[in-house]
Amino acid sequence: MLSLTRRQFGATAVGVLATALTVTGCSSSSSGGGIKQVTALITQEQGAGMKPFYDGFGASTGYEFKPTTSEVNALVEQLRIQINSGTAPDVVRASLGSLTVGVLPLAKEGALADLTDQPWAKNIPESYRALLASDGKIWAYPTSGQAILMFYNKAVFAQVGVKAPTTWSDFLTVCQTLKDAGKIPVAQGLGTPSMSQFIPYMLAASLVSAREPDIDAKMKAGTTSFAKDPGWNEVFTKYKTLMDKGYITPNSLGVTLDGAMKQTASGAAAMIPLVSTNSPALFASFPNKADDVGVFALPATDKADETYVPISPELLALNAKAKNPAGAKAWFQYLADPTRTADYAKATSSIPILTGSNAVSTELGAVVKPFIANQHFTPFPNHRWVNGDTQQAFFKTAPLLASGEITIAKVLAALDAAYSKG
């Protein structure tokens, strides 16, 4: 009995070992011979935008692009684990800012390969270099930019007789006219705390980043802060003005982002601030999709030419331990083609940001084009903050301005406290 058990145990162990060897053999032959395969971990949105290029890439380079797509939050968790365990694919979607899978923290720990010598690197706009470069090296390829903009229901604007504003005073007048017509001027679903960023970030592009390009250096040095900075004070004062005048969704703390989109699509609300890559979800609720929706950059002052748009890049990086670095670089180069950058941007409701890219033939592309041409764009403020805690503090405090449970001074103090964690 005992010897039989041992024999069985031994046979099972041999079987398991043989299976493991077979599997290992298979995988190594596929990846070893896989010099032709470029693996990637990208978001679902990126995957949707890149899919039309897979066949062409294979035909022109001989490489096969084989991505794994994932929802963005799940991707962040997966990527961290894969980097730690040395199993990350060749191409990875890196985040901006100070997150653990942020491009600069990853580069600092040696997880990314240098892309400085790539032909497209010289086409990265100067204002974005600080986000994806350190020690004089470029660490990521910017696929496109996502912008925060004000989207509006064209039918409601036409019905009430208002047009997209170009100054802050115009914007307030439009809001009042809409309110008088029984419409909610701006849909806000602060039950989704991240929505509280959109209006302040749009205002901050003009009032903070454009006026003080070195504010991040000053904040790091401790010579200024959210509370001391006149720009940030003006941002929140203007945001609170919209709340106090009843220009945003009533009881917005009980409404989600999805609910705010529905308000806009139903015509109950006229405008909604969104990140451009979220706009397809809004378009989907309209009969004629994007054709029913207008878009404009939110002005922050009474001079139209002082308006800046917050645009931040989406990034792809090359794993330092990539099995196929040549194939990954070929993929970046293939994507960097001016026509493809525009096609990708159109498919993902984003904006091509490499200089020399073709224009995007959408209303979004047309609205953003002059701002790009005039260099009137800045990264989202949070992408330059020293930690993720500051953004979390934003989510926990800014929405409460709507219910009057917190003051602007307390919001700014909370942001400073979080920022000071470093």
Binding site: M1, L2, T5, F9, N73, V76, E77, R80, I83, N84, L99, T100, V101, P105, E109, L190, G191, T192, P193, P250, N251, S252, L253, G254, V255, T256, G259, N387, G388, D389, Q392, F395, K396, T397, P399, L400, S403, E405, I406
Partner: protein
Amino acid sequence: MTTTAAPAMRAGKNPKKGKHPTRRNLLWFALPALALYGTVLIYPTFAGAALAFTNSKGGRRADFVGLANFQTLLADQDAIRSVGNTILVTASLVIVQTALALMLAIGLHQKLKLRGALRTIFFLPFILPSLIVGVLWQFLYNPGGPIDSVLTSLGLGSLIQLWLGSTSVAIWSVIVALIWQNTGFSIVVYLAALEEVPAELYEASAIDGANARQNFWHITRPMLGPATTINITLTMVGALKIFDQIFVMTNGGPGVATQVLSLVTYQQSFVLGNYGYGSAIALVLTMIIAAAAFIQTWARRRAGAN
């Protein structure tokens, strides 16, 4: 004789040995399960606990920082608030859910026409995925949503609240949703215990002239003691770990009004990448759960001994 006796003796011993393998031999059968258990549970648990004493940001390097993460926790107002919320949710669920389940179980134990259907209806929410429950209640609590409509139609419009958007109301709205989801399980535990109460006890008490209240207090309540222990322990442990429903309904907001320890652990570890600090919070939560379960078991044993 000897040549035949020895094999006979061996024949007499060996089959017995074969039929009753030693404990050591049996361990071989448990080895795969033990290896799996050790790999996916024991090792990660201790590795996670060890992480609590480091400054790990998720990267490859982490330095030992002693108790620094626990000191940070003591000074973290959001985390302190989340401890309070966790205790409030747990206490509410343990008290209200257990009491409600007991009353409903006694009701459903009676010979009702629709007893089977009612039991199914009450148990149904428990088998719904937590994320679905979160989405469902988020919909019900929408301003102008079904709950507001019902209150308005009943002439109780003045009771309408910003159910998930008010810092003072949101935590109670979440608690109601949790009780709705989990009471069915507690009912089932009580129903199983009620089936075990001998009918003779009630017959004897009836002869003695006991009323319903006396029946409950002197027969039903003591006989349901073990079921109450099970319900309280499972509810308590489940409430301390609650995550999914709150994540979906409020994500801890507005502000930090519905933030609980498990949510802070998630945010610190997977949103902010503070794996060391997140693990420290998780370790504290584990200790609280272990202490709560231990106290409950000890109290029950003591009550049983008395």
